[in-house]
Point group: D2
Chain length 392, copies 4
Amino acid sequence: MTGRHHLFIPGPSALPDDVMRAMDRPTIDHRGPAFQALAHDVQDGLRWIFGCAGPVVTYPASGSGAWEAALVNTLSPGDQVLMYESGQFASLWAEIAGRLSLKAEILPGDWRRGAEAQRIEDRLRADPGHRIRAVCVVHNETSTGCTADIPAIRAALDAAGHPALLMVDTISSLGSIPYRADDWGVDVTVGGSQKGLMLPPGISFNALGPKALEAAKTATLPRSYWAWEPVIRLNADGFFPYTPATNTLFGLRAALAMMRAEGLEAIFARHRRLARATRAAATAWGLELQCAVPSEYSAALTALRVPEGASADRLRQVALASFDLSLGNGLGKLADRVFRIGHLGHLNDLSLISALAGVEMSLGLADIAHQRGGVAAAMGVMAEAQRQGEPA
Amino acid sequence: MTGRHHLFIPGPSALPDDVMRAMDRPTIDHRGPAFQALAHDVQDGLRWIFGCAGPVVTYPASGSGAWEAALVNTLSPGDQVLMYESGQFASLWAEIAGRLSLKAEILPGDWRRGAEAQRIEDRLRADPGHRIRAVCVVHNETSTGCTADIPAIRAALDAAGHPALLMVDTISSLGSIPYRADDWGVDVTVGGSQKGLMLPPGISFNALGPKALEAAKTATLPRSYWAWEPVIRLNADGFFPYTPATNTLFGLRAALAMMRAEGLEAIFARHRRLARATRAAATAWGLELQCAVPSEYSAALTALRVPEGASADRLRQVALASFDLSLGNGLGKLADRVFRIGHLGHLNDLSLISALAGVEMSLGLADIAHQRGGVAAAMGVMAEAQRQGEPA
Amino acid sequence: MTGRHHLFIPGPSALPDDVMRAMDRPTIDHRGPAFQALAHDVQDGLRWIFGCAGPVVTYPASGSGAWEAALVNTLSPGDQVLMYESGQFASLWAEIAGRLSLKAEILPGDWRRGAEAQRIEDRLRADPGHRIRAVCVVHNETSTGCTADIPAIRAALDAAGHPALLMVDTISSLGSIPYRADDWGVDVTVGGSQKGLMLPPGISFNALGPKALEAAKTATLPRSYWAWEPVIRLNADGFFPYTPATNTLFGLRAALAMMRAEGLEAIFARHRRLARATRAAATAWGLELQCAVPSEYSAALTALRVPEGASADRLRQVALASFDLSLGNGLGKLADRVFRIGHLGHLNDLSLISALAGVEMSLGLADIAHQRGGVAAAMGVMAEAQRQGEPA
Amino acid sequence: MTGRHHLFIPGPSALPDDVMRAMDRPTIDHRGPAFQALAHDVQDGLRWIFGCAGPVVTYPASGSGAWEAALVNTLSPGDQVLMYESGQFASLWAEIAGRLSLKAEILPGDWRRGAEAQRIEDRLRADPGHRIRAVCVVHNETSTGCTADIPAIRAALDAAGHPALLMVDTISSLGSIPYRADDWGVDVTVGGSQKGLMLPPGISFNALGPKALEAAKTATLPRSYWAWEPVIRLNADGFFPYTPATNTLFGLRAALAMMRAEGLEAIFARHRRLARATRAAATAWGLELQCAVPSEYSAALTALRVPEGASADRLRQVALASFDLSLGNGLGKLADRVFRIGHLGHLNDLSLISALAGVEMSLGLADIAHQRGGVAAAMGVMAEAQRQGEPA
């Protein structure tokens, strides 16, 4: 097909030219001084993005590797972890815990809202012996478009007086939705490259608080590739214990420079506006949002439910075949029931309109019941933001 | 600004990744065998695109260089040329003729339609002594969005029994709108890189018929850089008489491969659809088209008039500042009265919707009288095309 | 510094323009049809490169991840593995085994030759109870420049009638030195991207034989990210159980196309010639090779010993500071005693001469005792190869 | 062939990654504010490189276009120009003058030295009526590797009290060899992109002094594309009278930034060292330099004569076929008698060694009488420079 492909899955997101060109460079010696400078640069930037003063461990791995790393560095075989099932990704994290010989207790959810602080507090209060060693929550559920209130969850642990570690997956929120690891008292934050950081997939992160570092000293799950200690030790000098994904780090340096130039507040405001416009379109179409709690709407993606009897996957096929538009599919129990629009990363108003127009036309072509006017509604939101002086 | 810039001027047009990456290569020896193979490849492709069996001379120059080349290779000081003033670019070509000591007779036009065959025929019939040596017309007037019927103009020359050369500027039509130099009896066709050929600006073309080659033998205007003869002679072996713009030729090879893969008929149909959608938007907005003759609507760009009292340039500033959207300005006597939407080259439905949405919102923000619904109307055209099975 | 950096570490190796430009593309939906086609393409190519009919599991991970994967998929806690200590990388693999709760028995080596089949056979004969579950050897020791004779080691296992799995690390040999997983009866082959495959670091491989797949069914080491089974299952449809490193796979497709065009035999012959030229230089300089067994000289890299009292690291610093040349450092117990010249991947005669000239001049500048004439000797090898009609 | 191609023609020269990546960007609106900023940036940089306070006119054209531009803007039909025939490029410039209806008087040269100030002075003294309107010399003859002493030539005009314009071609010297248009009293300087400026071919320059601007007011040669006036007028606002080669200007901005970072003095010293090393090789090989005057040796390229009976083109074919090395051919009357090594632009010591090694081996393979040791001699020069503390 001619012209640009329209990639609107909730990550991997669009790569900026600056990032692609930065990666399009000869690899350098990962044991030389130029690499050291690169490593120090990206470490500084990562601490800034995660909002943490401690180390950020970077893995040549996808996000699921960083999930695994968070667990194996801090826990011991048979340890109990509390996983809040906010959606598919929370479920996958729980599965991983199980495979690693942890006892993953799942707090079941309905996939229509984020992890609830009160339920976590209740559960922890019912664990006076502190057998639960870690609480794992997903900040932004990529399968549902619901966010969790992390400060509230932190407060829940504190209110319960429970010493469990708090681990948070920010894979699809980092760089798109405000997040402050230290301020919010998160012990391990899991992050990935291919969403708000505007990079290709291939590297992922663990941002560490002091309590997590302490836990790592006694945790006995076997670990080698994922072990924090050698990474932290060598990172101090700008090196890694293995060959790092140098070219992706070139891209990361470029992405961080772009983010500093735009400013985190402006980035977050832009994401909120794009999300608002998307929801306006959904409302106009008469499609229900998967996320049922307005205060938890994600600024990074929106999952839309198709009417009973309609097929979300058919819609996606039409969008791809007719308009070269990639939409996110429904995952797990939401398969074929929802489609997801990613509106995160290197994106602006007019590009989002492309996606919404593609959805609106595809709804018609796929004969899915809806009202027109979604694009017009989104344009209304955008024009109003301009009138209010919001930066584009 | 974050996200992609939205470039919708009527050229330079969007560069495909394939083209940019092809140019992103070390330059090669322009006197070596790899270059020869490149030169032969692009010459074959250019003949295909121009629809000519004779040579296509490629200049490292912008399109105005190729205008000049067409004149200096075929004419002698004081020669009379008939230039049809279809708009700004026709006027510029006439100015060039004047600077080169030709007598440029202008057939005045109202800038709302393309060159008219009947008026040309009438003028030629009034030249029984055949003092007019060349008739110059613009196939697609980039300043107005009007096309000319070249076969009809050819027929006009023939009907008048006039031996003048026929020269046609296809800078903004080539690769977007059907064109057949030989079939249509055009003696010199002027082309450029940065429109339908999906390349950056920097090279331009003269496609030559036998009568033009014959004229070059006796033409006495001084010429060196623009001289066809040494280029044709060295091109036969895959070389050039000067250092060619090698990297742009890398891009041209890639662009031609893309065009062969899509097929000319599909390319032209795509442009017609995008133009139709744009006009549907204009109609919905209540904005008048600069081109007053429906059969002459350009498939490559559309020029829209703003209401009396409104400023087209103000609209363009708002679009750029608010939505990072570049629209074409009104040129010459149309300054501030029209804005132009380029819908040519590497472009598809959803990307065009971006531009139309940006225009619709900017009309509102700039307080220019209009009705909403332009984007919706364009979507209607696109969805209908899908229903009719038109390839996207 | 101006001009190209001269990267001659034994991997990461030089990236071809074709590979870098192929990666310099927008990421695509890893759940869509374009990705499926990509995945099938690279899987076919990987089977070809590894010489295996079974699955090749691709990890977004550095090579040390693939080491870990080979172990955790096939072994159970407390299992005994025999690791032949041919050098630093064999030692690191053994360390990993230890961290994963395996009993790693090390067959000590002197780091001057590759793994010896006879010693392996002897050890296996002394294990009538077959407590050793796997034999791990490095095909090409990147720290020493010695290769191991894998068919002979296979024969050793067979001669001993021992059922242990045979696992081979080909990280720095794959695509540079002949390797045939199936023909040689290797159960798990570990590979990486950043050497002979001419890619940046970031993905790594396990190529699997039937016996390894069988072992995976009963192996009980905990595994999640590294688990073969879900990868193999989803790969069948062109997908992955996690977000793959899509852009690196773009590069892999391009690299495989280049390798098919050159042909494996030509690639191997080129590496042998470059190695021969490097050794000729070493001999002329009067520097001793770390590899003491001529039949085991690596075609991918050469490790050279500096005279007693001299510092290899000082030499490397001079080469970097004076000539922008990166050489490989001595690792582990060879620190400061050897430097390593990588001559693998996307490399030709004249580029290697650059490196050798940089070494020869730096030996002088660093006041390390040597004879001149190394570059001349290497040129002698290259010119002679040309005379013999060897393809460049 | 595998590995990098070795491009050592005297331009186009190697493109830095920074430059290629800078050009690998979407084209922008040449009538918008981002373009204005670009235009102002590159104009500042060009004035710095040319050493002139007046305008530098940039053409989308090869260097021969800029030659033509220098003439047509300042002269009138029949005007006499004095062209010093220092080699092929001086001859071509004279040919161009002839084609443009100028009377080109050639001061014949032997192609073994640069333009001689004394001979120019003598000729001008013999022109008391000042019929000679311009003196044209080539600063660095790309066909011979000889430079001319421009300040001495300026002094020659002054000594003769002759008002002719002084025009200098710096196509292959600019950015490689010191040049100061204003300090040296040059009226029109002709420059190109594809040599010391490290860009692909496609743009070229006229740097103008006040006397040239004055001459342009009365010069009557027809001109349109080449006319300075509209370019200067629109450049003041950051625009051009035609579509500029935007992407090449992106590259120019990047190249200028690199040059500012390295510093002109360091750039010139590097070129001198590379030239010295090349001549040391030539001397060791026993090959005669085409340039017979040591004070005029070019720092940008070296032309070497092959012995009588030997074929330079055969040598070049062997170098290309055996080692993927492109050398410059002998031009005009030097065809097959010399080959040329370009050592200009983005180049460092070790890369030059590649070329010299390729030449040395090819001399042997082509059975051309020579002594070995050229590479060794060049290394001697480079190592000595390091010992003297010269920056690499």
